[in-house]
Point group: C2
Chain length 416, copies 2
C-alpha cells in the first residue's frame, strides 16, 4: 500500500499507482498551477492560489455547500460560472469573503475577472473560492497583486504551492497524485484538498480540486464527482458544522488523448480511482480535524435509508462519543444514547452495538466482554463502531474525528 492510501477504509486498487512520495509534484498534462504569498495571512504563508487548463476542450463539474449563508464566491460561481467548462480556479485563504454583502459579491467578481485576465479565458470559465475568517471585507489590493503574481507563476509542477495556498488551520498537506490504467490507456489524476474544522457530514465543508488529463464530457464529470462526493465528503464530520464556502471541482483537460465514454469500463475504472482518492482525502480531513488524535467510523445497518443516515450522523456528531474516542474509552453507552436520541419515541429499541468487532450490546442490553481487551482495541488511530438496528436493507457510514483539548484550544483562540 502506498503512503497516500494509508487508511484501512480505502481498499487498494490494482489499476491505480501512486506517483512518487510526499513532496513530489506535477499535474496531469494540460494543467498549470501556482500558490503565492499576497499578505492575507498574518503568518506570511502562501494565500492566493490559481489553477488553469491550457486546453480549450477542458470539461468540469463543481459542487457547493447547501448552507443558507453561502459565501460570495459560492453565490458567484452558482450564478456566473459555466460549471461544465471551468478552465481556471482562483482561491484565496485567510478570508472567506462571507457575510460581506453586495460589496463582497463585487469583490468575488473582481477576483474572477483578474484570474480570467491572468489565464486568458472568459470570466464565466473561472471558478472562485475563498476560505478563512467570515465577515471581513477582502483586502482587494492584496488580492489584485496576488492573482497577478499567481498568473505569472503558473507551472506544471505548481500543485504543491497551490495546495499550500488553499490551507487555513490544516496541520498537514492533503494532496494526491496517481496514474490510472484504463482499458483505453493511462491517465493521471491529481487532487488538492483543504479542511480541518467546520466539517459536517452534509456534503463537503471544505475545498477540494481534482484534475485529470482524461477526455470526458461535462456530464461524465458531473456523474463521477457527484457519486464520489456522496461516498467521501458527504460522509465525514469533524464538528457537524456546515461551512459557508465548501467547494469541490473536478476538471478534465483531455490532454492524454484517452477518452472516457459514458457507461464504459474506462468510466468505471476512473470512477474507482477518483473515489479512492476522494475517500482518502476526506479521511485526511477528518484525521486533521483541528487537533484530532483518532478517527472513528460508524456503520449503521438495518431500518430504512433515512433512519440509518440520521443515526450515523447522530453518533458521529455526538460530543460525548467524540470525547470518548479522544480518551480511548470504549464507552458504548454513549453510542446507545446517541442512537436513541436520533430515534425518538421508538423505545425500547433492540439494537446491537459492536466496537472493533466486539459485540458489547445485543437487543438493547449489555453483553459481557473483556473491558481491558476492548480498551486496548480502541487505542489505535482508527476505531470502528457498528450499529445494527431492527429490520434490514439500509446501510450508512460516517467518518468522524474525536473531540480533544486541541479542538478547544484552536477554536477558542482562533481570531474573528
Amino acid at each position: 500500500m502506498s503512503p497516500f492510501f494509508a487508511s484501512r477504509w480505502v481498499a487498494p486498487l490494482d489499476h491505480v499507482t501512486e506517483l512518487g512520495a510526499d513532496g513530489d509534484v506535477g499535474l496531469p498534462a494540460g494543467f498549470r498551477a501556482a500558490g503565492v504569498t499576497a499578505g492575507l495571512k498574518p503568518s506570511g504563508a502562501r494565500d492566493v492560489a490559481l489553477i488553469a487548463s491550457d486546453s480549450l476542450a477542458v470539461t468540469s463539474h463543481a459542487m457547493f455547500t447547501r448552507s443558507g449563508t453561502q459565501a460570495a464566491p459560492v453565490l458567484l460561481c452558482r450564478e456566473r460560472c459555466e460549471l461544465g467548462s471551468i478552465a481556471a480556479v482562483v482561491v484565496n485563504s485567510g478570508n472567506a469573503n462571507a457575510a460581506t454583502g453586495d460589496a463582497g459579491y463585487d469583490d468575488a467578481q473582481a477576483m474572477q475577472e483578474l484570474a480570467a485576465t491572468a489565464t486568458g479565458v472568459h470570466p464565466s470559465r473561472v471558478a472562485v473560492a475563498s476560505t478563512g475568517v467570515i465577515g471581513v471585507p477582502l483586502p482587494m489590493d492584496r488580492i489584485i497583486t496576488g492573482v497577478r503574481a499567481a498568473g505569472k507563476a503558473l507551472a506544471a509542477d505548481g500543485d504543491r504551492d497551490f495546495s499550500e495556498a488553499i490551507q487555513t488551520t490544516d496541520a498537514f498537506e492533503k494532496r494526491a497524485r496517481v496514474q490510472v490504467a484504463l482499458p483505453s490507456g493511462t491517465v493521471t489524476v491529481t487532487a488538492q484538498a483543504k479542511g480541518a474544522g467546520m466539517i459536517s457530514p452534509g456534503f463537503a465543508t471544505l475545498l477540494c480540486f481534482v484534475q485529470t488529463d482524461a477526455a470526458m464530457s461535462a456530464q461524465t464529470c458531473e456523474l463521477l464527482l457527484s457519486v464520489c462526493v456522496k461516498r467521501s465528503f458527504d460522509r465525514i464530520s469533524v464538528d457537524g458544522q456546515l461551512s459557508t464556502s465548501d467547494t469541490v471541482i473536478l476538471q478534465a483537460s483531455g490532454a492524454s488523448g484517452v477518452t472516457v465514454a459514458p457507461e464504459s469500463e474506462d468510466e468505471l475504472r476512473l470512477g474507482e480511482a477518483i473515489d479512492a482518492i476522494m475517500r482518502q482525502l476526506a479521511l485526511l480531513v477528518v484525521k486533521d480535524g483541528e487537533g484530532a488524535r483518532r478517527t472513528g467510523r460508524v456503520l449503521v445497518r438495518g431500518g430504512d435509508e433515512r433512519t440509518v443516515q440520521r443515526v450515523a450522523r447522530s453518533v458521529a456528531n455526538s460530543p460525548l462519543v467524540k470525547a470518548a474516542l479522544y480518551g480511548a474509552d470504549p464507552n458504548w453507552g454513549r453510542i446507545a444514547q446517541a442512537v436513541g436520541a436520533a430515534m425518538p419515541h421508538m423505545a425500547p429499541l433492540a439494537l446491537d452495538i459492536s466496537i472493533e468487532g466486539v459485540l458489547v450490546c445485543s437487543a438493547g442490553s449489555f453483553v459481557t466482554h473483556d473491558p481491558y481487551a476492548l480498551a486496548a482495541a480502541v487505542a489505535g488511530d482508527e476505531v470502528e463502531y457498528e450499529v445494527q438496528l431492527p429490520g434490514d436493507g439500509a446501510e450508512a457510514e460516517v467518518y468522524f474525528s474525536d473531540l480533544g483539548h486541541e479542538y478547544v484550544t484552536i477554536n477558542a483562540e482562533y481570531t474573528t
Copy 2:
C-alpha cells in the same frame, strides 16, 4: 434579587419569596425526603434518594425523555405508574439502569416495590429514576439496603440530602425553596434538579423534582408542568445530547389547604412561580454544563415556528459557537455559519445578528463596530445573541453552555 434567582434571564416576581439562603432545608407540608449512601458511587457520596408524600390526596404529573433508548426506569414509569397520583419517587445515582434489557426492567420494578414498602403506598404510585453509567447491571444488594435506609431516614428537612443523592457529575447543588403568595393563600414550592452533561434542547435530559403543598388536580399538575418544561428544560443545551433517563415530576400534596382551581388567578400565579424556579434551575444546569465557564442565550426572531426553533438549536449546539463563547471571542461569523447550516438552500439570506445589543451583521453583511468594546461585553458570565431572520412572527430562545477544556477532560476520562 435573591441568591437563587441569580440570572438576568429570570424576571423577579413580587409574589415569590425565597425561603432562606443556601444550606437551608425544609419541604412543603406533606412531604418527607431522604438521601443515603448505598455504595453505588465509588466516591462514597450519597446515591439513593427517596421522596414521599404522606397525603393520600397527592396529585402529580411526570414527563420523560423522548429517546429511543430509554432507560428501564423510564419504561417502567410509563408502563406501570399512575402518573397523576405519584406519592413517592425513588432515585439512584451512579448507575442509569439503561441498556440493561429485561433484567434491568425487573430491577427497576424491584426498586419500585422496595420504595412502596418503605413508604407504605401501592407500587403503582411510586416513580423510579436512575442516573449514571449506561449498560451496567444495577447492584441490587446495595439498592435494597439503600432504599430501606432511605425509608427510615425520611424527614421533612431531607431535601438537601435528597438533592445530593441524585447528583452525578454536577459541580454544585441545584435546589430551590420558595413561598408563593396566591390570592387564595400562601403555598410553598421546593425543587431539586441534577444535570450537567447529556443535556439537549429537546426537553429535559436531567432529573428535576418539584413539590408543593398546594391542592390541585392531576390535570392542573400536567398543565403547569408541561408549560414550564417548554420554557425551561426544553430550551437548554449543554452538548445537544438527549439522555436515556430524563425525568421531571411535579407533586402537589394539598397539605396547605390552598386550592388552585383550573383557569384561576391562583393557577396563573403558581404557574409563574414554578416557571421562574424551573427556568432558574435549567440555567443552573447550563451553567454547571460539565466545566462551563459562560452561559449563552440565543434568541431567534422572524421566519416561521419550525425555522426559528431549528436555527436557535443549530447555534446553541454548534461547537464552534460554544468554543468562541468559552474563549470570550465575539466571533459572529460562526453564528452566521450555524444559521446558514440550519437553513439549507436559502442563500443569500438577509439576516441580522446582534451580540450583547451590538449589531454586527445586517442584511447578511458585516456592520462596522468596535471589536474591543464587543470583546469586553462577551467576557461576562452570560452572553446574549440575537438573530433576526427575514419575515416576522415566530420567536425561539435556547440557553447553552460553552465548550471548554473542562468538558473534554470530564468526558474523555469519565469511566464506562
